[in-house]
């Protein structure tokens, strides 16, 4: 089963008919609400680190008043969406891969096909829709938390002038930047979900429990690498 075959069938299953609302909601709540605590913690520290490290770098060159510029560009355009994608890959992607792989090795997926239920439509499509729907929301949330954390670290901890910092943020961050971040979230969400479902779906039955581990591991690594590379390509197209 090749990846191309899987993507083609998943796309057909995803767009031919909308998934049942109840299934979609269950997976969306699981992926979205379940990740909020983790995402808040990580993005808060990532935002504070961004400000502290930017300050450290700019102090050497004598330009600490440009910290707002640095946090705006580095954070909203790049770091926060990518961190959200890494968190999403590590938590949502790994969960999807582990659950599908577990179903595959315990032959539940075959049982579904025998009963005449298309596993692509019943298992994969609702998960894809759920993650595609929740990831942009998580990315928007990450922007809010991350910027607040950067602001907190810069103004409260490091004593950067509050007016300069927020004026620079307002100048450099436009609505387009926030929209790009959210749009990146849609792409990251779909990719993480499809990669995780693919690795879960093709877990080798004869390997048993080891197959679940391999599927989880591959889902995390492949989705992270793909998201980071895609982020570079998107940034190069949009900002260069």
């Amino acid at each position: 089963m090749s990846f191309v075959w899987f993507v083609r069938h998943a796309l057909v299953a995803q767009f031919s008919r909308l998934p049942p609302a109840e299934q979609f909601l269950r997976h969306a709540v699981d992926a979205g609400v379940g990740s909020v605590a983790l995402l808040t913690l990580l993005i808060f520290f990532a935002g504070m680190s961004l400000a502290v490290q930017g300050y450290g770098a700019f102090v050497r060159m004598g330009g600490q008043e440009f910290l707002g510029l640095f946090c705006g560009i580095g954070g909203v355009r790049e770091l926060f969406p990518v961190m959200a994608a890494i968190v999403c890959g590590a938590r949502i992607g790994a969960n999807l891969a582990a659950s599908l792989a577990n179903m595959q090795i315990s032959e539940q997926i075959e049982a579904l096909s025998v009963m005449g239920i298309d596993p692509m439509r019943y298992l994969v499509a609702p998960r894809l829709w759920a993650v595609v729907f929740t990831m942009p929301l998580l990315c928007a949330y990450a922007d809010v938390v991350g910027l607040s954390a950067s602001y907190f670290a810069a103004v409260v901890q490091l004593g950067v002038d509050q007016g300069t910092f927020s004026a620079q943020l307002r100048e450099i961050i436009r609505w387009q930047d926030l929209a790009v971040g959210v749009g990146k979230g849609v792409a990251f969400g779909w990719l993480v979900a499809i990669i995780a479902c693919y690795h879960g779906y093709r877990a080798a039955k004869q390997e048993g429990a080891a197959g679940v581990g391999v599927a989880t591991n591959r889902a995390i690594v492949h989705s992270t690498v793909v998201c980071i590379v895609l982020n570079m390509i998107l940034s190069a197209i949009l900002y260069a």
Partner: protein, 252 residues
């Protein structure tokens, strides 16, 4: 050992586990061949994902930085910022995150599988301490490969930044190279390597801990791999923040 007994019990168990691993490190017998084998496997598995994940970061920094530095007419300083960011910050942190994703989850999954299949108990029955034979080699391997990978990713990040800035964005090559090392010192490289060693050791420990606590069959293996990655990423970011605050405070 049940997995759901609250965070306090887990913390105490982890400290207990940490002490046991330290005792195994100090006293013999050591399984050096197994350690080398683990290092070999992990290095092969990590090389490509870690490189692929960190290389784009240099390009992204150059790409976003070039616009801003042009705005102020100090294009030449782009490379000093790039070098500071890569050496100190992004190479160690991202390399560690990727080592956690690849090596950490695979160690946890492997140990978890052994635990679920009863192989850990079988080792103990044959009077081979599973801690010495399975956990300690993974711990030492992570401790060593993380800084090694950091050297590679630092170089990759600088090269990809150079490629974007000089080849694509037409920053002057001479100015780029001249300013590259104007802000970084050897201390920055050591800081990056020290951070990576710390994170690598923690990854090996957490992976071994989560693997040995696996319960509940195949689903438990997935949970162990997943919780290892999530825990280590949290740990890396939180510790990283406090280290940079400390370094700023010390003025290094």
């Amino acid at each position: 050992m049940s997995q759901r007994r609250g965070p306090l019990e887990a913390t105490l168990a982890f400290l207990d586990f940490f002490a046991a691993v330290l005792r195994c490190l100090v006293t013999g017998p050591h399984f050096w061949l197994e350690t080398l084998r683990t290092m070999d496997i992990l290095m092969r598995r990590c090389l490509i994902p870690v490189g692929l994940a960190v290389a784009p970061v240099g390009a992204v920094i150059a790409l976003q930085g070039v616009g801003v530095f042009r705005m102020f007419g100090v294009e030449g300083l782009l490379s000093s910022m790039l070098a500071t960011a890569i050496f100190r910050q992004y190479s160690p942190a991202l390399a560690s995150v990727m080592v956690a994703a690849q090596a950490g989850s695979s160690i946890a999954a492997r140990i978890g599988t052994m635990k679920v299949r009863g192989q850990i108990d079988a080792l103990a029955v044959m009077s081979v301490d599973p801690l010495r034979y399975v956990v300690v080699p993974g711990f030492i391997a992570c401790l060593i490969i993380a800084p090694l990978l950091n050297v590679l990713t630092t170089a990759l990040g600088l090269v990809s930044g150079w490629f974007f800035a000089v080849v694509l964005a037409r920053v002057d090559h001479g100015a780029f190279v001249d300013n590259l090392y104007s802000q970084v010192t050897v201390t920055d490289l050591w800081i990056g390597l020290a951070k990576c060693t710390l994170f690598g050791g923690a990854i090996g420990l957490i992976a071994g801990f989560a693997g040995l606590r696996t319960v509940g069959g195949a689903a438990g293996v997935g949970r162990a791999a997943n919780s290892t990655v999530v825990t280590t990423i949290i740990m890396i970011l939180v510790i990283d923040y406090f280290i940079s605050l400390l370094l700023l405070w010390l003025g290094v």
